[in-house]
Symmetry: D4
Subunit: 149 residues, 8 copies
């Protein structure tokens, strides 16, 4: 397995689906699980410690502790996706402002898609196929953004 | 033991000292420990699960996951103290915006003193002595605020 | 009576209902009253001073003085629930940034549910029944968050 | 007496002094008192209800309930001065975001001077002398701002 | 004439109507005019300088210069009402953060009602009738807030 | 004259000096005047209406109405420079959030230098000399930023 | 060609249309192109370097690098329009807070209309016709704002 | 070469030094270069396109376009470090709020250290040595945070 996606709540599904929509077009294995850092911390811990995944994606809103909690249990790269709500700065700041020593790679608000692409960029360092797919994706993105496709 | 104070980092000591300065004048037993939610999550978990304390105080800055992580391991009351830094809204929002089901009692920025008083108010519900001491403390606070003392 | 809920305005009812939805399942007596800190300060004062409640919950939006005003009349624990509006940071900061000496236990925006749970956690310190109910509630919350229920 | 200045804490003195520095040059009687809305609510209530002042100025930082609490006890004009601290938006929003029905006239952060001038403008409506002094003050302010004085 | 209401744009009408709804029940003369500080500065200047009004109310959104511009042309009390939009902090801060010497009395976001009440409180200082009406209004507000009316 | 710099207060001098430091090296005529939009609105109006300048630069802090007030009196380009203080978002939002129809060209906080460069870019459209000087300035800036100079 | 409008994404069309609606009534040539600073940086660079336009308008939301990237490739005036979204402060601050040496003229959130007017003001410095049209536009704007048209 | 660090300005050196302080203790090759996205966009482009680095770290303050500009030229992982200043939210939001398709991995304000650790975590996926060093680093961090070292 390559990428383990964990979302803090079932209600974060639209954001994980943005990630899946990207990942489906790439040669990667991934898994999506719901496990709340606050309601099921033992499940998060077990999931992270036993996972064979190379990269983790944590999706969470509000005080959004999930990505940081994942990071506290592993030295593999952890990507954090803040989920929008009534305040927005809450999830953004909770995820990005990690203390020294325990990094989380924060992407933009609701950017499940960019979390997936960042995970793929990481995996591409040792996977020629993904690397080529990413270059191709970027080319198509460029064309599409210019209205040529 | 009555109150377990946990701070995320040695650098939060000035805030825990504000709490201690209050607690020293009351008939309570308390303990102050440094245990980071991100750097030593197992220690936080053990500490919380084995503690005989009735109330927890978690002190943390930045993405300030500590009070929420404490709360994820207990159904005893958890008080969270956001610590000031370059942004301030980061620790405040991280601590106050807990998801439904896992409450944290947030006090003001750097308000170690109010965290101690809130813990005492909770303990006072079944402790006449503390209750009287609190009423006395409030009276003196009032006098002092009016410049009469 | 165990818990006195006061909301600043009739329009805060959806938030107090979140609290009631929790409390109904626990062995507690509670009362919900509307009393504005700005429009009926004498009623708030009387209510707080005469109440037999062990814990107060103040629900208010905008400049949200209610929880602080309740706290100014008692040394019992006061929980404050900021209500959402056009700004949100107004009620959050008004409630959490209490001056030294008069603590309020702030919960998240519109989190009537967490205010109720925090009140229950406080009461559980001397009530075995509530304590067991809380552990059971937490267990079910965990299961439900994992999609097992 | 014309103007009653109340500050929430002794530490707000530099802001009340800005007000006094203005008022000293005008034909008005004023009084400055320290009375905290949270630590001495009864004193604030008594002070406001018994005062012969025509205008109130409330100076407070943090959750800054004072001006609103003054306003809850009178239908005379109440001016609120937010005091700066680690966040600033806390006192500004607490003072300005009053609920419908109970107005507070908020001036800028730490603007004790403008609070005094606003009080004088209000008094000038029925006081020719103050009115002339204000016009003169404005003229000198203009000159000074242009570097002509 | 007692109160001159100026709004920066026709689109601010719902806010001036909140003011009118209050004023209609009191013994005051008022006038509502549209005059933009940025699009018709000469009209604002003329209106203010020639007005017989005792109090001005300026209603404006976005960079909301109107209340400050009114205040620059008079030493009578000027009340500013920030109008909500996509940001909200823009109109609030533009209105409240006046420089030393030129006060504006800021009320809450969209609080045309409180602007009217504040104007009435100012007028009541020399108008017994309005004073009595305000006390009566406050009494009814209190009753209504308590659900007794 | 090419550029008229107006600052709201003598205290904004450090920011206008940043502009002057740039302008001194270019073939332009400029003038720096202190004229507050709130304290001397007639002076601002006269200055703008009589000025032969092609571009205006307004420098102001707090509620920062100056650039907008300048723009209300002319259809020439007006550049606004927000000045830092205790809040910063106040001057930024006051200057940038102009209503439709009356544009102000906002530059960054305390960026007197960029205001000068923007004015020069505008003038360069019909001034070959300035155009060449700007290209040269940019080249040196590039070298310096790369540590080559 | 006089004005080159570049928007970062097809979804910014409503904002560029606000600009076009203004420009259509003036004697100017303009062109609207979609070219993302992040997805097609080479296209932006080519477009800017080869363009005969005198003024550039960059329209972008989120991290909104486009106006700054345009400015990095030219010494002609660049106007930046922040586009609204879930946060708003993101695009505003990204566009306005340019580093020293590379100015961008920021207009208000979604203010494609003001970007067009600012561009016209710049062009009017050497174009009598546009100058007269702007004066006429301003006159009509004034009348319309006063409800006279 | 493994890691290419680019900072937007010489003044960002204290933040890049935090990264270097970490990297020096690991078996990696890295290079630190100053190249501004706005002042030397061609240098950034060349540097990124020709670099053999596996991971990029972009350090920038204010409108902080650098990490996004780096990302626009590569499909390798790009880490962005916002640098503190007078506003802080400017660099944070500019870096984190990237549009869909072009991810940047944002770390906390001034967290050059965490950027280095995140880069190492990425490299560790195919480098056993670094992986072991990271586990060892984390262990020591844990001990140190607990005051045991």
């Amino acid at each position: 397995m390559d990428i383990q996606i964990i979302m803090g709540s079932k209600s974060d599904t639209p954001i994980s689906e943005k990630a899946e929509k990207i990942l489906k077009n790439f040669d990667v294995e991934y898994e999506v699980t719901v496990a709340s850092a606050h309601r099921a911390p033992d499940v998060v811990k077990d999931l992270v410690e036993k996972s064979k995944a190379k990269v983790f994606i944590g999706i969470a809103g509000l005080s959004a502790a999930l990505p940081g909690v994942i990071a506290s249990h592993t030295t593999k790269p952890v990507i954090g996706v803040p989920v929008s709500g009534k305040i927005n700065l809450d999830s953004i700041l909770s995820i990005i402002q990690m203390p020294p020593g325990i990094p989380v790679a924060a992407v933009g608000l609701d950017r499940g898609d960019n979390a997936a692409l960042l995970a793929l960029e990481i995996l591409s360092l040792t996977n020629k196929k993904i690397q080529e797919q990413l270059v191709q994706y970027r080319r198509e993105l460029r064309e599409k953004s210019l209205g040529k496709k």
